[in-house]
């Protein structure tokens, strides 16, 4: 058998001192000695049956079999998610509603670090500080859940979990080479002692973006993770990364902007400490700091005058969380945190006050109470106080009833807000003295109320699992960049203009008869009603009515593995314009073979993305075309 799981197992045991195996006499110490808590309460994933809202997990096998090289594309497997590209290196993903080129209304976490960039009001998917190779799994909470995750979890939460350093001991080298000037190399080194595991990943990635765009990108990245076991009950984890990108910007929308290069650098540092009192009680403390710098200066409209759109964001965040189980049928997680966001930008905030900060205090509590053996109540609340805005309370409640061991019904009501960001609340954009966006006064937070009825079923006889969700979401006070008048004249301002109602149904089916064959299917039907006060249809068409994804993974004999991936979206608005893009079907194929060499393993894979070569000509000129690439991966001591 040859597959990816073997790498992990093999490396772990291999590097953990089992390179030779002298028989050591077993004694009672092997039964009585303590072991460190490995799967602490905060490390465990909440079971789908007990989750307060629908969840989807994209695991490592799915990631490997996807053939994708961009992290954002993995979200195509999640029902209701829309992934779209503004350019080759500006990627966007959102749940139910994608009207903007940044995931403004999603909370995105990497190992608990919110990667939302205040100066962008969104997430830069190419600068997360990790590579696709570092990911253990992606947990997606499909629905608002501010009670647990705070502001920005207006539509949902994406939580990316990277692998523990002990899972990546040894050396991994990988190269992807293919069409569209795709060239990627990854090098990971891992090692350590009994109590300390360290790994470092370095990557270089480049591609030419879309065929008709000036949007190629080159990224150089290095990230490190260290896990230290300080005694039986304490673990420390440390992350650091630097991501340096040279990207091309083009003039697709504004002829005044020439094709020009820009530079994006992001850095982060994160320290976490977990003290486990028992298997179900721990205390977690976390601090992180991240910065994002974009240097973007160009000659404006051939005038000889240079416009500097550079900006810098800083985010410092400190949080503690106490997870405990005071009764056998009751689990509680509570905590508090402080966050300080800072944006520095002459362009966005004006030359008078080019730097602004926004401090946020938060206090949260969640409980899971098994009222009976078959009924679980989840309830939670988050209180957030914003320096530049109001104090907001976001509650959530769900009732999960296990009809049988294999059938669960869930009803839930949850809320979330998105507080206005610094560059919405304090904006002052001018191009040379001409006002472009001005501060029109205080904004209210966007708020959503969501209701869902879910069914989670397992059919062991057919090796199948089913997850259904019917929902309604009401989003109020959407902050829209509005023109001065109905004709779209300057200047713009941010205003709470729009409301959106979404209703729909989502389903996922997993068929997993054995560990060699697997099918994952997702389907979403969504109907959006939007006020679209300025009649721009930017919200009404921001989601396809129907979408589905299919992934089939088959492990064959002699180390071969094949996977088929199909994605369909019905028509929807394209990013950043009001034009519609037609429905499209994407098919990815991947064939891999694993070789076991003397002291190492190798995998060769061929991936074909967009096999059907679906042509899509839009104003964005985002024509992807069929792309193939070859991948070689080596793992050894």
């Amino acid at each position: 058998m040859h597959n990816r799981c073997g790498y992990f197992y093999g490396l772990i045991l291999w590097m953990a001192g089992l390179t030779s195996l002298p028989a050591t006499e077993l004694s009672e110490d092997d039964f009585l000695d303590e072991l460190p808590v490995v799967l602490s309460a905060t490390r465990l994933v909440q079971d789908k049956r007990d989750a307060p809202v629908a969840t989807t997990v994209i695991d490592r096998e799915m990631i490997d079999a996807s053939g994708f090289t961009e992290i954002v594309d993995l979200l195509r497997y999640v029902p209701g998610f829309v992934v779209n590209y503004d350019s080759g290196h500006v990627q966007a993903a959102s749940y139910h509603m994608l009207n903007n080129n940044l995931a403004r209304r999603m909370q995105v976490l990497v190992d608990g670090r919110s990667v939302y960039i205040p100066s962008l009001l969104g997430v830069q998917w190419t600068s997360l500080g990790i590579t696709i190779e570092d990911i253990e799994r992606i947990e997606v909470i499909r629905g608002p859940n501010a009670a647990s995750y705070g502001s920005n979890s207006l539509l949902g939460v994406i939580s990316i979990i990277t692998r523990h350093a002990s899972q990546d001991r040894g050396v991994m080298a990988k190269a992807n080479v293919g069409e569209n000037n795709l060239a990627e190399t990854y090098l990971r080194l891992g090692g350590g002692t009994e109590n300390l595991d360290v790994k470092v990943t370095a990557a270089y990635r480049q591609n030419d973006g879309f065929i008709k765009r000036y949007d190629s990108a080159q990224f150089r990245q290095i990230n490190a993770r260290a896990d230290y076991q300080a005694g039986f009950n304490d673990t420390l984890v440390f992350h650091a990364n630097v991501n340096d990108g040279e990207v091309q910007e083009d003039n697709t929308f504004d002829s005044a902007i020439p094709n020009h290069p820009s530079n994006v650098v992001s850095r982060s540092f994160q320290l976490g400490w977990t003290h486990s009192f028992s298997a179900s009680e721990d205390f977690k403390f976390q601090y992180y700091r991240q910065t994002h710098d974009k240097q973007n200066r160009y000659e404006y409209a051939g005038t000889g005058l240079y416009l500097d759109q550079s900006h810098r964001s800083e985010r410092d965040d400190i949080e503690f969380q106490h997870t405990l189980s005071p009764l056998t049928n009751l689990s509680i997680a509570w905590g508090a945190g402080i966050r300080n966001d800072k944006v520095i930008s002459d362009y966005y905030l004006g030359q008078q006050t080019p730097a602004d900060t926004n401090k946020t205090y938060r206090l949260f509590g969640n409980l899971a109470w098994n009222i009976t053996d078959s009924t679980l109540l989840n309830a939670g609340v988050m209180l957030e106080d914003y320096e530049i805005n109001s104090t907001e309370l976001s509650p959530m409640m769900s009732l999960n009833h296990h009809l049988t061991d294999t059938d669960t019904l869930r009803i839930s009501a949850s809320t979330a807000i998105r507080a206005p960001g610094i560059i919405e609340e304090l904006t002052d954009v001018k191009i040379f003295t001409v006002p472009i966006v001005f501060d029109a006064g205080n904004l209210d937070p966007e708020r959503t109320n969501a209701y869902e009825i879910g069914y989670i079923g397992r059919f062991p006889r057919y090796n199948t699992a089913l997850d259904l969700k019917m929902y309604r979401e009401y989003i109020r006070n959407l902050i829209t960049l509005a023109a001065a008048d109905a004709d779209g004249n300057l200047p713009y301002h941010f205003a709470n203009l729009d409301n959106v109602k979404t209703r729909g149904v989502e389903a996922t089916v997993s068929f997993n008869p054995n560990r060699k064959f697997r099918i994952e299917l997702s389907y979403s039907h969504a109907r959006i009603q939007a006020s679209d006060v300025r009649n721009t249809t930017q919200y009404a068409n921001s989601s396809p009515d129907n979408s589905f994804s299919l992934q089939v993974i088959q492990h064959f004999a002699r180390g071969y593995q094949g996977s088929l991936n199909v994605f369909y979206n019905s028509q929807m608005k394209q990013l950043a314009t009001e034009e519609m893009r037609s429905d499209n079907t994407r098919v990815n194929l991947r064939l891999a073979k694993t070789f076991k060499l003397a002291d190492s393993k190798a995998e060769v894979a061929v991936s074909v993305l967009n096999l059907l070569d679906e042509f899509e000509e839009t104003r964005l000129k985002n024509v992807a075309g069929r792309r193939s690439y070859l991948s070689l991966k080596l793992e050894f001591k």
């Binding site: 772990i12 006499e25 092997d30 039964f31 465990l44 669960t408 699992a465």
Partner: protein
């Protein structure tokens, strides 16, 4: 002849005869006198051993068959036993708790019936059973700490009814019970996927194989496979693959195993006490055969179960039998 010369000395002859009689008849005599003296040797001065010792004493004193005196020995065995003889508290039985204590007893010079307790069965079979200490007389027995393989299969069959394929890694010392595993596999209709941890190459292949083809992993105690260094990686990866990990200690379940089947030092202490009681009550001349634990716990990690619940079928009735 020099030896005969020595024996001819009437005093020496008398001493020799006395020793011979005391040694051979001590356990029989013991049951006829009022006081029973039990020498207890603990491997460490730590809570598990204290719990064992306390439960042992509690079990025997509760019977009130005879007055039982316990003497905990923590220095040189020979000296301590001689001291007990001199003070009129000649030990009728020795109880060794743990491997270190057992090792000390094996190097001592006495013929007192000994129960080696709180040790793995493999330790007794490899180190004690055929030792000169036990070879020369029939006064050795044991209460093991590990669970019989059949019990583990029986509990997995009931607790994880959907686990048709059970992955087991055998190390250099646990490979000896391969046949027992195969017998249990046949009896309970659970297909086992056995892999031997021999070399680097085999290790990579075996973990690969197990992750791909098993519904659950059963840890068979083997220091070279499961130890503090390796536990982290094994638990993380079994969890990553959504495979329930069944282990053999409280520590493992606390660390992240789905559940563990194990006996506590108290339970072993009680069983050791009952073994002695049996001897005292029925005046047997030999100790019974070594025993696996009668009593055991199935301890679950509720957080791991909650997390895996939708992927596995877990029957919590296995928790009833404690």
């Amino acid at each position: 002849m020099p030896v005969l010369d020595k024996i001819r000395s009437p005093f020496r002859l008398l001493c020799l005869l006395l020793c011979f009689v005391i040694t051979l008849t001590s356990h029989v005599y013991a049951r006829e006198k009022n006081n029973i003296n039990i020498a207890v040797v603990l491997s460490k001065d730590t809570p598990p051993y204290h719990a064992f010792s306390e439960q042992l004493q509690k079990t025997l004193t509760a019977t009130q068959i005879q007055k039982v005196k316990f003497h905990t020995i923590d220095s040189d065995i020979n000296d301590s036993i001689s001291t007990l003889y001199v003070s009129g508290n000649a030990p009728d039985f020795i109880v060794a708790a743990g491997a270190h204590a057992s090792k000390k007893i094996l190097t001592s010079d006495n013929s007192i019936p000994t129960i080696f307790s709180l040790i793995p069965s493999s330790y007794y079979k490899n180190r004690i059973q055929n030792s000169p200490y036990c070879k020369r007389k029939k006064y050795c027995s044991a209460v093991y700490l590990d669970q019989p393989v059949e019990r583990q299969f029986s509990i997995i069959k009931k607790g994880l009814p959907d686990a048709k394929h059970l992955g087991i890694i055998l190390g250099p010392s646990s490979k000896n019970i391969k046949n027992e595993i195969l017998r249990a596999s046949k009896k309970y209709g659970i297909n086992v996927i056995l892999e031997s941890a021999k070399t680097d190459e085999n290790l990579i292949v075996l973990v690969d194989h197990l992750a791909r083809s098993s519904d659950a992993l059963l840890a068979i105690p083997d220091h070279d496979v499961y130890n503090r260094k390796t536990a982290k990686g094994i638990l993380l990866n079994s969890y990553k693959n959504h495979i329930p990990f069944v282990a053999y200690s409280h520590s493992f379940v606390r660390a992240g195993a789905l559940f563990s089947i194990y006996s506590t030092p108290e339970q072993i202490g009680e069983q050791t006490g009952r073994m002695l009681m049996e001897m005292l009550t029925h005046s047997k001349n030999t100790l019974p055969e070594p025993e696996f634990p009668d009593a055991y716990k199935v301890e679950i990690n509720p957080a791991v179960l909650r997390s895996l619940r939708s992927r596995i079928h877990f029957n919590d009735s296995i928790l009833d039998k404690q």
